[in-house]
Symmetry: C2
Subunit: 354 residues, 2 copies
């Protein structure tokens, strides 16, 4: 009942800094996979389109685990107060298939707000070509770096998005709290904290055989604790052979680190944006996660006007990949809530008088 | 040597709030006048394109005084280290010709950041259709509300703009300083300060004859202190006859106040954005101006990384309309400086190492 189509569009242009690309005028590409509901939607339930954004180093296929299960809701649509129209999984510019297409044009800097502009570009593209998409409501779902993108996209274009589910978003840094001036003790950036070098030691992008690459991803990499079915989807979309015969990941080590390094310039912008966001936001937190400073969750709940928080017991920072069933349950329940709220007659907005 | 062309394009979509328009899907229009250099540019001087944004209640034609004099520089190009490619004067969505086209679709709210998106839309439109524009460097020049737009446009798309001249920009409010929490004493919005009602009493948009309208604008309105040639350009682009025979200003009183009222939602966003702007900004201040809180100027100089300030002696908040020769002199001198800096060989950017 859902068709699947690989799409390639131009990424947002211009990028945020001169060093974002090698050639300033050349357009980066954005690859995404669109699953589109092909049945007839003849009831009055709201149509929801889901746009998924992966974390640093991952790719669109980590969401396949979710897509497979969410597709089934189409057969049970009487049980739910919504219909899923399209589901879109994006490979962000240096990741997955986009990373392969862009490899000769990616620069040494990546400001994450460009990722938010790319998400907006995808939605605008779909709206201009797909009537069903135009009628639908857009729900952004993003993890970690992808959680940042989802929130910042709502800051940039609030009317495009009817709900945001942000899972362990990286959008708060103790050292970059704009309300704390001068910087508190321990002020540091990812660049000078030693974290980037530690990450660099854990990343590998050259292998002699496919088996070696797969084994490394499965057993040694940051990704090894992922739920096994989900991990296999990720790996099968990530390992490719280079022209010289060697095997590699679609994201290069250099671009993987460039994306991490974007933290320093991006997180303060994210922190400063949240006070202006009035969209509905669900903030999903891993109960045992330590990647984000512990203040993150209160900061978001306090500053996002219309937000809720839900904690996944025992969840780590990669909870959507390690405990996908728990996160899927949360997503389904949030979509149900969103479906009901969109079915309510629109309140007669009291137009403010001058 | 310069052609003049009236252009109409779709304004940025989506707008910032549901109440920005009556029909959410309908596109607002944006009218602008483009003066394009038609001679051959065969030296190696940088081409500068100037994009002018007017203040609340004004229209594109207040810049005619400037355009007329800046055009003459084309005959004296040996004296200047730049060539002016195009000059664009915009009627923002509720103003001038745009206001007339949009009158049945404008809503009850206007967030000024939409004006910044519209400026970006104009530049992107010109870049896609005009090769000379593509090669040029874009200089934003904006007054008051238009000064806000120019600064915020640089926050949204830093690489599109090579210089910003912001004259008495409204981008700081004592009551909305995000670093001061809780709000300091005297916390108030334009809506509750009484200022909006006072402004409402000073605005009129219905007249029995053309002469009555012109006389009111010339002698009674906020605009009466404008330099006389400049005032006549403004008036001749502003007074029109309605289908019912009455005469009116192109901006309606309601939309004039809606734009003022946008202050409350927009200024905090502007204040929060400036810390991230690395573009060159020249901040022109009226030496006797009282519209902005006196802290505005220090706030901008401190927070805009690459900014300069210049004070016009005896200037009020409407200094570009009251003392246009003084402001013109500042603009010419800044363009000269920009021309020289763009002629310098581009420094070999040290690409940051991971």
């Amino acid at each position: 009942m859902y068709s699947a189509e690989n799409k390639i569009i131009d990424a947002h242009w211009p990028r945020y800094t001169e060093n974002s690309t090698i050639d300033k005028e050349k357009r980066l590409k954005l690859c995404y996979l669109k699953y589109k509901f092909e049945g007839t939607i003849n009831d009055n339930k709201p149509i929801l389109n889901l746009i998924f954004s992966h974390a640093t180093g991952m790719n669109k296929s980590i969401w396949k685990y979710y897509i497979k299960r969410l597709k089934k809701l189409a057969f049970m649509k009487d049980d739910y107060p919504f219909v899923i129209g399209s589901m879109i999984t994006v490979d962000h510019v240096q990741h997955g298939d986009s990373g392969v297409l862009n490899k000769d044009n990616l620069g040494t800097e990546f400001n994450w707000t460009d990722g938010a502009r790319d998400v907006i570009k995808v939605v605008m593209e779909e709206r201009s070509n797909d009537d069903a998409f135009k009628k639908g409501n857009n729900i952004l779902i993003g993890h970690s770096f992808g959680g940042f993108l989802s929130v910042y996209a709502a800051f940039l274009e609030p009317l495009l998005f009817q709900d945001i589910i942000t899972i362990e978003p990286v959008i708060y840094g103790r050292h970059s709290d704009p309300s704390a001036a001068p910087p508190p003790e321990g002020y540091k950036t990812m660049g000078n904290s030693g974290l980037l070098s530690a990450l660099a030691r854990g990343i590998k992008d050259e292998f002699d055989s496919k088996e070696e690459a797969v084994e490394w991803l499965r057993r040694t990499s940051f990704f090894s604790p992922f739920e096994s079915e989900l991990l296999e989807y990720f790996i099968s979309d990530e390992v490719i052979q280079r022209p010289d015969g060697k095997w590699t990941t679609k994201i290069s080590k250099e671009q993987h680190l460039t994306c991490y390094k974007g933290y320093d310039s991006s997180v303060p912008m994210g922190m400063s944006s949240v006070q202006f966001i009035k969209n509905r936001v669900l903030h999903v937190v891993g109960g045992s996660a330590t990647w984000n400073p512990p203040e993150t969750t209160n900061f978001l709940i306090k500053n996002l006007e219309n937000s809720d928080r839900i904690i996944v017991p025992n969840g780590t920072h990669t909870v959507p990949e390690e405990q996908p069933d728990d996160v899927l349950k949360i997503i389904k329940s949030r979509l149900t809530e969103t479906g009901f709220s969109l079915q309510e007659p629109i309140a007669l907005t009291a137009k403010p008088k001058l």
